[in-house]
Symmetry: C2
């Protein structure tokens, strides 16, 4: 069968299953997720045996130790997937919630009912645990899911999907509710992105190259997140010890993630007091500082920042530092170089806090807190299927609610339109 | 300048204006809308003079009377735009609303703040009043708008935009907040659909051909509505007089609109009682009935329905009628032929009402009410910029709220992530 037809068939099956999944009760969905947790443990040998095929091929191909580590379904990774399934089972079910119900002058009662989106298409790279984590969130929100993982993890992804499908079948649910596309070249992605009749939403997770490819080739709406270039602005009357703590935490607690701090902006009135002190702490923590001329004058350890350091996602122990004249210059810098991910101000002034919150265009805007809090778990969403830095449908960390939408419902008593 | 560069320049200007519009206070936005209402009346002669150029060209091209009527900016149409502006000024401002604020275990307070989308791209066909109606809704929701109307209305659209821009300038707001693209060929639409860096959302309004073209060529999210194929299902224990009233209203009150009724499904247990009576009333109202064999047996006036009559948007005094075995067959028919616009059940049975509301996948699902209520005004949204029949971001009638999104805001007191 031609690739296009294979993908069309898979997508059609997943869409049929979606109608059943949309109408499952919360009880059945939770029982299913707990059965999947048990299933992963019961079938651990099989899963690890299939995973070993991917690992062997990866070693042969000369994958780096870090990549092999991401690929491995160790006992610890399987335990984490099991815990994840149980946590999602424990989350409240967003489907069916009714809101904004009001009686209209015509007599009808109108409101909104939360419903599943339908079929979610996940496109991801190396980590096979995404197969289980994404399936759990999609199913809990009443959606079916079509998964396309990386080529290096194909055996692992197919094995995980097989176990999940066994659990679906045991609950009399169409196993096509969770499917892995067994073809891993880019062509398969391209075909998938044309299935607008079956797939309601595409969520890509991976490097910027993959995400741009998906965004540019999709006829289906895409929730995307290119990168996180997070700024902290230390205002003139910031509490400087608090500011140093937030900057240190943002940059060093986990530098390789998208909510880590990449650029520090400092009000010129406190630069002299603040920069030497925080600079010493950063350097002691192994951070390389790339500063503007004023920063360099105050911090001899700093290198000179190049033009491309502003707006750079270092994902490493590197921090760009710039002295600015005031709040307006800080917000203009963020508007120019930010990535609409997370921005924070450290300030003691009420009016500045409120202006920053209102005017900065980012999916998360904070006052006196570390950018590292920008995360579905920290926000209380329970679990996170990704972070959106585009504004349509969802903006910021996406939990179960972002995998649903609302329809209008009307309760009438025979009303007609005059 | 090449067309591509013209559109890029316009889009860039609109994006710059959007940052200013996003931060306007409600007071300023309302004053602006009222000034625009006054401006349209004060500049009526100029607007009608420019409109006359379009009408003359239209007459020369041999446009139909109906098309010329849609194109004309008569006193009545201008009054309606003025009223529309005043109504939008009176609506509550969705921007800045904070919801879901909660304290997290880390100590931070997290919530969501409603914000504008940024730049809305409207693509529409003949009616020049869309220029004003769309601009009003976009501006009130804090957005800038880039408009591309039909070629036959270009002078009218440019004149209306000029008047709106004069009002923007008088309020010290960047006039680029409302811009009409002065090029009307398809190439201009294609260029516009590539400006993902500047335009946040595309809303096409027009025929299915235009909308499909936009959906297939856009890199920007599109809120689209292809067609409205609305069904009514008369259940076994429906109150038959109520059912007849709702069917008559759905089909005949305004047959040319997307929420008009196109297909009637009747439970076989009441077909004999219901169809002859409602059939007579429909025929008396000038409706042509295209029925399944059972319908034809009960209603000799009915023509035989062809396969393509199921799922057809007649937009005319034609109704497809089918007798079904039960609720499940009715819902299966709707799942196969519906357009995710509006579906209604007429029933006396509680459990059937609840199942229909929950299980039918459409942007509006009703019990015992006419499909004609599916409308932003009737739902209390104030005014409507369109109806979305795709599920991402908005599903159903779209008002001001659907022209906004939410960002996360965090109030901290120096918290860091452990």
């Amino acid at each position: 069968m031609a690739l296009e037809d294979t993908i069309a068939t898979l997508a059609g099956e997943t869409k049929r299953a979606a109608r059943q999944v949309a109408n499952l009760s919360t009880t059945v969905k939770n029982r299913l997720l707990l059965a999947m947790a048990d299933g992963l443990l019961a079938r651990k040998d099989y899963i690890q045996q299939e995973n070993e095929k991917d690992l062997a091929a990866g070693r042969e191909k000369g994958l780096s130790a870090a990549m092999l580590d991401r690929l491995a379904l160790s006992d610890k990774v399987i335990d984490a997937m099991v815990t994840g399934l149980k946590e999602v089972a424990a989350l409240p079910d967003p489907v069916g919630e009714i809101s904004d119900m009001q009686r209209r002058p015509s007599g009808i009662m109108v409101g909104r009912m939360r419903i599943p989106l339908g079929v979610i298409g996940m496109i991801y790279e190396s980590r096979p645990n995404v197969t289980v984590d994404a399936a759990a969130l999609c199913l809990k929100a009443g959606n079916a899911v079509l998964l396309r993982g990386g080529s290096e993890a194909l055996h692992s992804n197919l094995a995980l999907a097989k176990v999940l499908q066994e659990c679906l079948a045991a609950e009399q649910i169409d196993p096509a509710a969770v499917q892995v596309i067994p073809v891993t070249d880019r062509e398969a992605v391209t075909c998938m992105l044309q299935r607008e009749e079956e797939i309601d939403l595409i969520i890509p997770r991976g490097g910027e190259g993959l995400i741009r490819f998906v965004a540019q080739n999709s006829r289906i709406p895409v929730l995307k997140h290119y990168k996180g270039v997070c700024h902290a602005f230390v205002d003139a009357d910031a509490e400087l010890e608090m500011a140093a703590r937030i900057v240190l935490n943002g940059k060093t607690q986990r530098p390789g993630v998208c909510n880590a701090l990449e650029t520090l902006l400092v009000h010129r009135d406190v630069a002299e007091d603040f920069l030497p002190a925080v600079g010493r702490q950063l350097v002691a923590a192994g951070v390389e500082i790339r500063g503007c001329p004023q920063t360099k004058a105050l911090l001899p350890e700093a290198k000179a920042a190049a033009a491309e350091d502003w707006g750079m996602e270092f994902l490493d122990l590197i921090l760009a530092v710039k002295v600015v004249a005031d709040l307006d210059e800080a917000m203009a810098h963020i508007a120019q170089y930010g990535s609409q991910h997370t921005e924070t101000i450290i300030t003691g002034r009420y009016a500045h806090a409120q202006r920053f919150l209102r005017e900065v265009d980012a999916s998360s805007v904070m006052v006196n807190a570390s950018t590292r809090f920008s995360d579905g778990g920290q926000y209380g969403l329970g679990a996170e299927i990704g972070i959106s830095t585009t504004k349509l449908h969802a903006y910021g960390p996406m939990g179960l609610r972002e995998l649903t939408t609302c329809k209008f419902i009307v309760y009438g008593e025979g009303e007609i339109r005059e």
